[in-house]
């Protein structure tokens, strides 16, 4: 049904489709974060930097400004691999730290990556970003129409691409969760001491989660960068983005995949989709009024998002759709 929706609603071909696409893409990144925060229970404040890294690698590999213009798919694979590798390298020294310290280290890593993006202008393009990135189908002609053009002009194509990717990632995460590794993650989250005494090396387990999170976020980054056409302003990969994704995961319900999806859909749907459309709608009804300084939701976005977060946490502290595990754990910790 969701897959068919775009055909019924041509509005999706336009900006709305693009906005929905970015929501889906952030869903992917959030699933990655959920592996780290939800399953192994460690606070990770730097997910957006991996998001950005994935996109950056894709851009470096594909843009016409750089000599090595390899195709879209291989570029995606390579950049996801590189992101995962970087995740491992960062994780291995730092993952022995205690919760808050690890959180700050991930935060710091995020900032360092952002600063690198900003300052290595020749590599990353600085604030202007790298672009335009040739769309997946560029150069391929199907019955006379250029697929690349379709990808660029009509956002439904990327909508589908990210939808498929989302399904794949959901399946992957579910499989992982049910695997031995997944059980080890949850063991570490629930009872670190006991987990240690049965020989689960918390560091290794967490490292695996960290790497997987990085890889998934990198994939999301690739998709986002490709759908936008440029890496854009590196500040978009900074602390704010990380924190927003984290909030989405937590209000959705830690450790539960549907919860994550709902959380992202609500939070980012609100920020990316609802507010702009409400604003444009309000403009159309106030079309006659020529005063520009009329009230727009946009200027209150931050407050609205913030209040939404506070309220949700106030009334559903364990998230909207908590996983049964997490709920049970919460009960346990209460008594």
């Amino acid at each position: 049904m969701l897959a068919l929706a775009p055909w019924f609603y041509p509005a999706l071909a336009g900006g709305l489709g693009g906005q929905m696409t970015s929501v889906l893409i952030i869903c992917i990144a959030a699933l990655g974060l959920n592996v780290m925060v939800g399953f192994t229970g460690f606070l990770h404040l730097g997910i957006a930097s991996f998001f950005g890294l994935g996109g950056l690698f894709l851009a470096i590999l594909t843009v016409p400004m750089n000599p090595l213009e390899i195709g879209f798919l291989p570029a995606v694979f390579v950049s996801v691999g590189l992101t995962a590798a970087i995740g491992t390298l960062l994780g291995s020294p730092t993952l022995r730290l205690r919760g808050e310290y690890l959180a700050i280290v991930t935060l710091g890593f995020g900032e360092v990556v952002r600063v690198l993006f900003l300052n290595l202008e020749n590599v990353t393009g600085g604030t202007q970003g790298l672009g335009p990135i040739p769309p997946p189908g560029s150069g391929i002609f199907v019955t006379g129409i250029d697929l690349g053009r379709e990808f660029v002009v009509d956002s439904r194509w990327f909508y589908y691409l990210s939808l498929i990717a989302l399904f794949v990632v959901v399946l992957l995460v579910r499989v992982l969760e049910k695997s031995a590794l997944g059980r080890a993650w949850i063991a570490v989250r629930e009872e670190p001491l006991a987990a240690a005494t049965i020989g689960i090396s918390a560091t290794k387990v967490r490292l695996s989660a960290f790497t997987i999170a990085a890889a998934i976020a990198g994939l999301a980054g690739c998709l986002s960068v490709a759908s936008i056409g440029t890496t854009g302003d590196p500040n978009a990969f900074g602390f704010n983005r990380s924190v927003a994704i984290l909030c989405a995961v937590i209000i959705g319900g830690l450790g539960s995949i549907p919860g994550t999806l709902v959380g992202v859909t609500i939070l980012f749907g609100f920020d990316i989709v609802v507010i702009p459309s409400v604003d444009s709608w309000m403009q159309r009804i106030q079309g006659q009024v020529f005063d520009v300084s009329l009230f727009t939701l946009g200027s209150w976005r931050l407050a609205l998002v913030g209040i939404a977060l506070i309220v949700v946490m106030r009334f559903r502290p364990i998230g909207l759709i908590p996983s049964r595990r997490f709920a049970a754990e919460f009960q346990e910790s209460k008594q």
Binding site: T94, L97, R98, Y101, I104, G108, N119, I310, M313, K334
Partner: protein, 305 residues
């Protein structure tokens, strides 16, 4: 780079490190009592800066002589300190207290929500662009020996040093301080249970107050404020708190000084764009060697979570 200018950088670093330390103390106190990283703290400080901007531009429209300047600034610091303290208490009572025994990450989200709201308030209050702090002194710098000292930095010291001393006295000599330290020493469960509610309120007020004082210092030091300032300084201060070992007050002060120094020196040597990166790199390397920070206590029983 010659010695004089190097010393000058160190001076700048120490002054900026001073108020970073004060803000860091705010983080560390709240963490010590309710075990919460209070992400909104930086934005509370930002609002304090807005208030002090209003006060100062009302009181000193034109530059004045040093003594009155200092008095006015101290007054402003006190006002915004009170304001931030009360603001902090309100935030705690209305937002965090209901979540005392929620899962550990939920209050974190609320703090982020609060910080968004506060940031937006600041945006509405002082607008999106930088706002200049009024000139307070007639002479902006005074050259002593080889290198010149900005009056603003002296002023920052005038604000910060007494604050730190008062804090020390408060924590060492008074009953409040002792019980606070004991709580920070024992687990936080006591703080969650109702009987320590007063203590929690006091803690939030104290951290807010220090934040407010620091905000004036920050404004005087940077000479402009904007609504995203809180986010920036919050990051630095949080880093300072962690570097010093989160939960320990002297650690926060020392961490603040270190962060300030690193920042100033990296600005001088590597250029302004690498400040944040170098601070965080130093943090990461340091934690690899000493994972519990400078003054932090290492947990004996397998230290996860």
């Amino acid at each position: 780079m010659d010695v004089a200018s190097f010393l000058q950088q160190c001076g700048i670093g120490i002054t900026s490190g001073g108020f970073l330390g004060l803000i860091a103390v705010g983080y560390t106190l709240v963490y010590g009592t309710v075990g919460l990283i209070h992400f909104a703290h930086g934005d509370v400080v930002m609002l304090g800066g807005c208030l002090s901007l209003a006060i100062l531009s009302f009181l000193v429209p034109v530059p004045v002589d040093p003594l009155t300047g200092c008095l006015v600034v101290v007054l402003a610091a006190a006002c915004s300190g009170l304001f931030c303290g009360c603001l902090n208490i309100c935030i705690d009572q209305f937002v965090y207290r209901p979540l005392r025994n929620a899962p550990p990450l939920s209050p974190l989200v609320s703090t982020i929500g609060v910080s968004f709201v506060l940031m937006n308030v600041g945006l509405i209050w002082i607008g999106p662009t930088d706002r200049a702090f009024p000139e307070i002194f007639l002479e902006t710098t005074r050259s002593v020996g080889g290198f010149s000292i900005a009056m603003a930095d002296l002023l920052v010291l005038v604000i910060v040093v007494p604050a730190v001393l008062c804090l020390y006295v408060l924590l060492r000599q008074t009953r409040f301080g002792r019980s606070l330290r004991s709580i920070a020493a024992i687990t936080r469960v006591t703080a969650r249970s109702g009987e320590a509610g007063k203590l929690v309120i006091a803690t939030f007020f104290l951290s807010g107050f220090l934040g407010g004082v620091a905000s004036v210092a920050a404004g005087v030091h940077a000479t402009t404020i904007n609504y995203q300032m809180g986010h920036q300084m919050g990051l630095y201060a949080l880093t300072a708190a962690v570097l010093g070992g989160i939960g320990s007050v002297p650690g926060a002060i020392v961490g603040g000084l270190i962060v300030g120094l690193i920042r100033a020196i990296s600005v001088a040597f590597l250029g302004p764009r690498w400040a944040i990166a170098s601070v965080f790199l130093v943090l990461i390397i340091f934690l690899a060697f000493r994972p519990q920070g400078i003054f932090g206590k290492s947990k004996t029983r397998g230290g996860q979570r």
